[in-house]
């Protein structure tokens, strides 16, 4: 048994061991007394000092502080409620927004080596076209000539009518090259994904269903593989179902290979270099960066205007580029989320200032209590810790309320964010969000608790002398409160202007 476990043992059996220690010391005293020596000292203090050796003194004091703080807060329900409500609103807003920021901006893509996934784009900067799609011929060129890409797959979205023998329904269809799902590194939930043989002219048309579509329309039927549907006057056989992962770049109901899409397999589409309809996703080779990838694809693109002058106007400045998939999916929403997070941070600051003000006002009435405790031997540090424990307890209460509020308004926020990114579906109150809320609550408690805790009089004894109805107004206390009020007004004003401007630009 190591020292660590022994400490845990002492913690768990604290009351029994305290009793044992007291028995030992009582016997010791008795034997001393038999010799007429009585220099044992203060037994309570000695027992306390001995227990220090167990290494749990801090925990004992923390619990003691927490119990006391809890009693005090229960005795002042009005103050407690107002403080928890104010902090709850502030922490709730921050929790909700952080869950957005985490789910959309920070969390890695749920795909194998998601940071190596890129989206290619072609640009004609001189005619203002920043994101032109790719034609079949171009895709073949990039696939053959690129040195930085391990894999390159095409994608476009169509809307087809699907006949399953009951009712015709319109399905969002992703048309992809054979190894699109392998590119993302996902594995079939049921059946299999496309193979090379599914994407050659003359192959039988096959479908992969999205997990959601399969659940909603076929009740999660485990025998779905092999079912035959009619689409575009052809029989399509279901070969697999996607796992429940978010779909990029868009949600689709079903996926088919390029040969099954009538417009993609038309002769025009296959031969015309300027039929830019497809999007291209790729995976960088290990060691390649987005930067080296851009150099690579722009080199390939630079050869096109010379080889095919008809398809690429000389003065359009044609070239190709790429972005990481993660950046591409979140670029629209990033500034909005960060602004909102900043604003909610300021709201929390206002809440802190408000509660600090309340606490300061209450401190004036509690001075005598603190003076008595100081007179009984509590050090200044201990009193500060007591007050910080109280404020932290309050802010943890606020954190709980905030978590509740955040979970209530999450759907609203998700539908807002969904207007800008497909990652919105990945937002949830996850472990990192819970940790964030806990950290934020503790920080909040310390921030708003600091003002009352450190504004204590250096000499508390004076307040004992002031008698019970001390009407003396403290100048320095007032200064702190004035500063807090000024800060609140300033931040509120800033938020108000910001909100006014944002209403114009957001909606």
């Amino acid at each position: 048994m190591g020292e660590f476990f022994r400490r845990i043992y002492f913690l768990l059996n604290r009351s029994k061991l305290e009793h044992d220690l007291a028995t030992d010391m009582a016997a010791h005293r008795e034997m001393l007394g038999a010799e007429n020596r009585k220099d044992f000292g203060n037994p309570t203090l000695l027992a306390e000092q001995s227990r220090e050796a167990w290494g749990w003194g801090w925990l004992e004091r923390l619990l003691q502080d927490a119990r006391y703080a809890f009693r005090i807060l229960k005795k002042n329900p009005a103050f407690t409620l107002v403080a928890i409500l104010a902090l709850g609103l502030g922490i709730g807003a921050n929790t909700a927004l952080f869950s957005m920021v985490y789910g959309v901006l920070l969390k890695p893509l749920p795909y194998a080596q998601g940071q190596q996934l890129v989206v290619l784009r072609q640009v004609f900067p001189k005619v203002g076209a920043n994101n032109v799609g790719f034609s079949v011929k171009e895709i073949a060129d990039y696939r053959q000539q690129s040195r930085s890409l391990a894999q390159l797959e095409e994608y476009h979205q169509m809307s087809f009518i699907l006949l399953d023998g009951h009712e015709p329904s319109e399905v969002r269809t992703g048309v992809v090259s054979a190894h699109f799902f392998d590119l993302l590194g996902i594995h079939p939930f049921l059946g299999r994904f496309f193979a090379d043989s599914d994407d050659v002219p003359g192959a039988e048309a096959v479908l992969v269903l999205s997990n959601e579509y399969w659940r909603q329309h076929y009740g999660g039927d485990p025998n779905i593989v092999g079912r035959r549907f009619r689409m575009n006057d052809r029989v399509h056989t279901v070969i697999g179902v996607l796992p429940p992962v978010p779909q990029y770049p868009r949600e689709n109901d079903v996926y088919m290979t390029t040969i099954a899409c009538p417009s993609r397999s038309s002769n025009d589409m296959k031969t015309m270099r300027n039929h830019h309809m497809m999007r291209v996703f790729a995976r960088l080779k290990p060691g390649e960066t987005v930067q080296s990838g851009i150099t690579d694809v722009s080199t390939i693109a630079s050869r096109f205007p010379q080889a095919f002058p008809d398809s690429y106007p000389q003065d359009a400045g044609f070239t190709a580029s790429m972005d990481s998939l993660h950046a591409q999916l979140t670029q629209d929403v990033r500034p909005k989320l960060l602004i909102l997070l900043g604003a909610s941070g300021l709201v929390l600051l206002i809440a802190c200032a408000n509660v600090a003000n309340l606490a300061l006002a209450r401190m004036m009435r509690r001075e005598q209590e603190l003076a008595v405790r100081a007179a009984l031997g509590a050090s200044r540090g201990r009193l500060i810790r007591q007050l910080l424990t109280e404020s932290t307890l309050l802010s943890l209460g606020g954190g709980l309320l905030g978590l509740f509020l955040a979970s209530q308004c999450l759907t609203l926020l998700v539908s807002f964010v969904a207007r800008f990114t497909t990652r919105a579906g990945e937002v949830s109150i996850s472990t990192p969000v819970l940790l964030f809320t806990l950290g934020l609550s503790l920080l909040t408690g310390i921030v708003f608790g600091a003002a009352p805790a450190f504004s204590q009089r250096a000499s508390l004894v004076n307040s004992l002398k002031e008698g019970s109805n001390s009407a003396t107004v403290r100048v320095d206390g007032n200064r702190v409160r004035n500063l807090l009020a000024m800060g609140q007004v300033a931040i509120s004003f800033m938020l108000l202007i910001g909100a006014g401007l944002m209403i114009r630009s957001f909606i």
Binding site: E52, W54, G55
Partner: protein, 108 residues
């Protein structure tokens, strides 16, 4: 107070040493140190019990219930294998330091 103060850091070693022959309760430990030192050293109870708790945590001693000479239920502290090793190393260290001090005192 004419009490002879312990050299800081040596109490633990003395406690371990008097426990080497066999288990003792708290009061007996203090007594034994007092007697063996020809009444020179006085163990303060305020240091003895924190030290014993520390040794329990470190695993150098174990406590067992027994009955004292005054017929009282009390815990006897017993040296463990780890305690014996600790005592050896503390005594070796102390010897070295003592030799150093004596060398300085005699030569300077």
């Amino acid at each position: 107070m004419a009490k002879n103060e312990m050299i800081p850091g040596t109490l633990g070693m003395l406690v371990l040493r008097v426990l080497q022959p066999g288990a003792l309760h708290g009061y007996a430990i203090a007594q034994r140190i007092h007697t063996l030192s020809n009444d020179l050293l006085q163990v303060e109870e305020g240091s003895l019990y924190p030290a014993l708790q520390r040794m329990l945590i470190k695993g150098w001693v174990q406590a067992e219930w027994g009955v004292s000479e005054t017929n009282r239920k009390v815990r006897f502290y017993k040296l463990t294998a780890a305690g014996r090793k600790q005592l050896q190393s503390e005594m070796t260290d102390f010897d070295r330091v003592l030799q150093g001090i004596q060398a300085v005192l005699s030569k300077a």
